[in-house]
C-alpha cells in the first residue's frame, strides 16, 4: 500500500518537495514565514497572519516576484498577476495558495 504522500521531484533549481495532496494551512504558513524571515526589519519582529508584506517587511519588487515564484513552485500553483497585486497580508497570500491548491 502506498502511504508516502510527498514525492521528491528533481527540477532545474534544486530538489523540491511537491505536495501532491492539498497542503495544510500550517504548511503554507510555515513556508511563507521561512521565505519572508530574511526580510524582517527587526529581529524581534514576528511575522504574523496580519503582517502587511509590502509595508512591514524590507522586501523590494524583485524579491517579491522571486518569493511568489518560489511559493508557486513549492505548492505547484500559479497565482495570476492580478491576484498577486491584490494580496496585502501573509494571511491573504496563504489563503490564495490554499484555494488554488485545492482546485488543482
Amino acid at each position: 500500500m502506498r502511504t508516502a504522500q510527498n514525492v521528491i521531484v528533481e527540477n532545474d533549481d534544486a530538489t523540491a518537495i511537491l505536495l501532491r495532496r492539498v497542503p495544510t494551512r500550517g504548511e503554507v504558513m510555515a513556508e511563507i514565514v521561512t521565505q519572508l524571515a530574511t526580510f524582517r526589519t527587526d529581529d524581534r519582529h514576528v511575522i504574523r497572519g496580519e503582517t502587511v508584506i509590502a509595508k512591514d517587511l524590507a522586501i523590494d519588487s524583485l524579491a517579491v516576484m522571486d518569493m511568489v515564484m518560489e511559493l508557486e513552485d513549492r505548492f505547484d500553483v500559479s497565482i495570476p498577476m492580478n491576484v498577486v497585486a491584490e494580496i496585502q497580508t501573509v494571511d491573504e497570500l496563504a489563503n490564495t495558495i490554499l484555494k488554488l491548491a485545492a482546485r488543482r
Binding site: D12, A54, D56, D60, P80, M81, V84
Partner: protein
C-alpha cells in the same frame, strides 16, 4: 515543431524602411520570426513574421471596422506574449497609435498600478485598452472615470470584433508610430512621441556599422520588457528591421531563472542579447549554481549593456564566470541611450569589449574634471567609469557647462544630442517638451558625462532620477508617497540614491520632528514602510534634526543633491538600526 530558422531566403536589408508596416511587409517574405519560451525552457509558441503580419491584417480590419479613427490611441499592457504583437502591429496597419504600458509589480501593487493606468489614460487620451486576460479587471476599474475609453478588456474584446472588408490604412513615414511611457515621474508621466521617421533613423543606426553592424546569421535573444525602449526597439524592432529571428522569455521568468536567458542563447545559437548591468549581475549571482553542462555561449558576438550605469566590476565577474562556457569578453558592447532618442545614442565599437577610464574622485567632485587617477587601484581616491562609445552616424553629441559652453575632453558637463532619432516632443505636452528640446533641435539628456577621444563617459545624472534594478524611480514620487501616508509633511523629506558600487541604494532624509528614541525609530520604520508600499523599493532612512533643516536652492526648491552631499559627508546622524 522545428525552431524558427536563423537564416532566410531574403536579401539582408538593414533598416532603410519608411515605417514599421514596411519593415514587417519585407520580413514577412522570409522564414524568420519570434518564439516565446517558458521559464523551464520549453517553446510555448512561435510566430513567423509572415504570420505576425497576417494576424495584424485581420486585427487591423477589425479595428477599422469597429470605427476607430486614424490616430486614435490603443493602450496595450506590454507583456511578452503573442497578444502584444497582434494588438501592436494590428494598430500599425489600422492607423492607430499603440501605447505600450507595464504590467503590475508584485504583492500589494494593485492601487499603484490602477493609479498609473489612470494617469496613462489621461496623458495618452486612449480610446481603447487591451491586455492579458488576467488584467481585464484592472483595466475596467481604471477605465471607470474615462468615458472616452470605448473598449477595454482581454484580447477577446478585440478578437470578437467582426472582421470587415475594409482597406487597410497603414501608418506611413510621415506619421507617429507609438507613444512610449518611460520618462517623467509616475505622478506626471510624459509619453514620448515616437515617430516612424525617428524610429527608422535610430534603427538604421542600431543595425548599421556605427551600431551592432548586423550580418546574415545573426539571431536575437531577449528577456527585456516590451514596455521599455530597450526591449521594444532593441529587441523587437531592431531584429525585425534586419529580418532576424528572436527568442523571448518574460522578464518575470528571467528574474526567477536568469540562466534561461543564457540557455536560449546557447540552444538557439543567439548572437545578439542585451541587458542592463543588473541582469548580468543576476545571472552570476543566481545562475552560477544552475549552469547546465552543455551551456555554450560561443555564438554570442554582441553582449550589449545599456539602460543603467554600465558597471565594469559586474561585467568582469560575468566574463570570469562564463568564459569557460565559451563567452568572449570582447563581445561586450557598452552603450548609452534613452527613450527621447527612441533608444540608442552611442555604441562602443564592436568586438573590442569594455574600456574603462579611472579618474581622481576629488577632481571629479570639486572641479568637474576627469583627471586620470594617480593610484587607479585605490577605490577611495579613484573612480572607474565605463567608456560608452561614439555617437551614431548622422547624430551629434556635445558636453556643455552650466553656461552652455561646449566642453573639451575630460571636462564633465551636461550631455546634449541632436540628430534624426530625436523625438519631436512629449505627446501633447509642449511645455515639458520645451524644457528638454531647444529650437535648433538639441536634446538635453539630463545626464552628466565627459568626452574621451570622441567617446562618451557617463558619470551620473543632472536630474535627480534614481534607477533601481533598471527601474526609473523619481524622488518626487518617493517623497509624495511619504506625504500621502501622512508620515511627514510636505517638504520634510528628500529622497536620493547613493552608489554602493553594486547598484543604487535609495536613501530618504527626513526631518525628525519627534523626540525620544522610540518615536524616532517608529518614524524611520513608518517612512520605510510607506516607501515600500507605494514604490516597492527598499530604502535607508536618515533622520535630520529639525534645527538643521533640509538644504534648499536659491529659488527655494528642495535641493536633493545637497542633501545627498551632506549625507555622504556624514553631516547627518547615522541611520537608526531598525530602519
Amino acid at each position: 515543431m522545428d525552431p524558427l530558422p536563423t537564416r532566410h531566403s531574403l536579401a539582408l536589408r538593414r533598416a532603410a524602411f519608411g515605417s514599421v508596416p514596411e519593415m514587417l511587409d519585407y520580413a514577412a517574405q522570409g522564414q524568420t520570426g519570434v518564439s516565446f519560451h517558458s521559464a523551464r525552457g520549453e517553446r510555448l509558441s512561435a510566430l513567423p513574421w509572415k504570420e505576425v503580419r497576417e494576424r495584424a491584417h485581420v486585427m487591423a480590419r477589425k479595428l477599422i471596422g469597429a470605427g476607430f479613427a486614424r490616430g486614435d490611441r490603443l493602450l496595450i499592457t506590454a507583456d511578452t506574449w503573442p497578444g502584444f504583437f497582434d494588438a501592436f502591429f494590428g494598430a500599425q496597419y489600422a492607423g492607430l497609435l499603440p501605447v505600450p504600458v507595464s504590467i503590475p509589480v508584485g504583492i500589494g501593487g494593485k492601487e499603484a498600478y490602477l493609479d498609473q493606468l489612470r494617469r496613462q489614460f489621461a496623458a495618452s487620451g486612449a480610446v481603447a485598452a487591451v491586455g492579458l486576460d488576467e488584467l481585464a479587471g484592472f483595466l475596467a476599474e481604471a477605465a471607470e472615470e474615462f468615458p472616452a475609453l470605448r473598449l477595454h478588456g482581454g484580447m477577446d474584446v478585440l478578437e470578437s470584433l467582426p472582421e470587415k472588408p475594409v482597406d487597410l490604412r497603414p501608418l506611413g513615414p510621415a506619421d507617429t508610430c507609438y507613444i512610449q511611457f518611460s520618462s517623467g515621474s509616475t505622478r506626471h508621466p510624459h509619453g514620448v512621441q515616437i515617430t516612424q521617421a525617428a524610429l527608422m533613423a535610430n534603427l538604421e543606426g542600431i543595425t548599421g556599422p556605427g551600431g551592432l553592424d548586423v550580418v546574415e546569421g545573426d539571431r536575437a535573444a531577449s528577456w527585456l520588457p516590451l514596455y521599455h525602449d530597450m526591449g521594444l526597439i532593441g529587441f523587437l524592432f531592431s531584429p525585425l528591421a534586419a529580418q532576424l529571428s528572436i527568442d523571448y522569455i518574460t522578464p518575470r521568468d528571467f528574474a526567477r531563472r536568469p540562466m534561461q536567458w543564457l540557455n536560449l542563447i546557447s540552444k538557439y545559437r543567439g548572437t545578439i542579447a542585451y541587458s542592463p548591468s543588473f541582469g548580468y549581475d543576476l545571472a552570476v549571482r543566481r545562475g552560477a549554481s544552475q549552469v547546465p553542462a552543455d551551456l555554450d555561449l560561443s555564438s554570442w558576438r554582441h553582449a550589449g549593456i545599456g539602460g543603467d550605469m554600465v558597471r565594469a566590476d559586474v561585467l568582469d565577474r560575468f566574463a570570469a564566470t562564463f568564459e569557460p562556457r565559451g563567452f568572449n569578453r570582447s563581445a561586450f558592447i557598452p552603450s548609452y541611450g534613452m527613450a527621447e532618442v527612441c533608444l540608442a545614442i552611442t555604441f562602443s565599437p564592436g568586438g573590442t569589449g569594455v574600456h574603462t577610464d579611472t579618474v581622481d574622485r576629488t577632481a571629479l567632485a570639486e572641479q568637474q574634471r576627469a583627471v586620470p587617477a594617480a593610484n587607479p587601484d585605490d577605490a577611495h581616491s579613484a573612480r572607474r567609469f565605463v567608456v560608452c562609445g561614439k555617437v551614431l552616424p548622422r547624430h551629434q553629441l556635445e558636453v556643455r557647462d552650466e553656461q552652455g559652453h561646449v566642453l573639451g575632453d575630460r571636462a564633465v558637463g551636461r550631455i546634449f544630442v541632436r540628430g534624426p532619432s530625436i523625438m519631436p516632443g512629449y505627446f501633447q505636452e509642449p511645455e515639458a517638451s520645451r524644457e528638454v528640446l531647444s529650437p535648433d533641435g538639441w536634446l538635453d539628456t539630463g545626464d552628466l558625462g565627459y568626452l574621451l577621444n570622441g567617446e562618451i563617459v557617463v558619470t551620473g545624472r543632472a536630474k535627480d532620477l534614481i534607477i533601481v534594478n533598471g527601474r526609473n524611480v523619481w524622488p518626487q514620487d518617493i517623497e509624495w508617497a511619504i506625504e500621502a501616508q501622512k508620515v511627514v509633511k510636505s517638504g520634510d523629506s528628500a529622497a536620493f540614491s547613493v552608489d554602493t558600487g553594486e547598484g543604487e541604494r535609495v536613501v530618504v532624509a527626513v526631518l525628525a520632528r519627534v523626540s525620544g528614541d522610540e518615536a524616532k525609530t517608529e518614524l524611520a520604520r513608518d517612512v520605510a514602510g510607506a516607501v515600500r508600499e507605494a514604490i516597492a523599493v527598499d530604502c535607508d532612512v536618515v533622520l535630520v534634526p529639525p534645527t538643521m533643516g533640509l538644504p534648499h536652492t536659491s529659488s527655494g526648491k528642495l535641493s536633493r543633491s545637497r542633501t545627498k552631499a551632506n549625507y555622504l559627508a556624514g553631516h547627518y546622524a547615522a541611520k537608526p538600526a531598525a530602519a
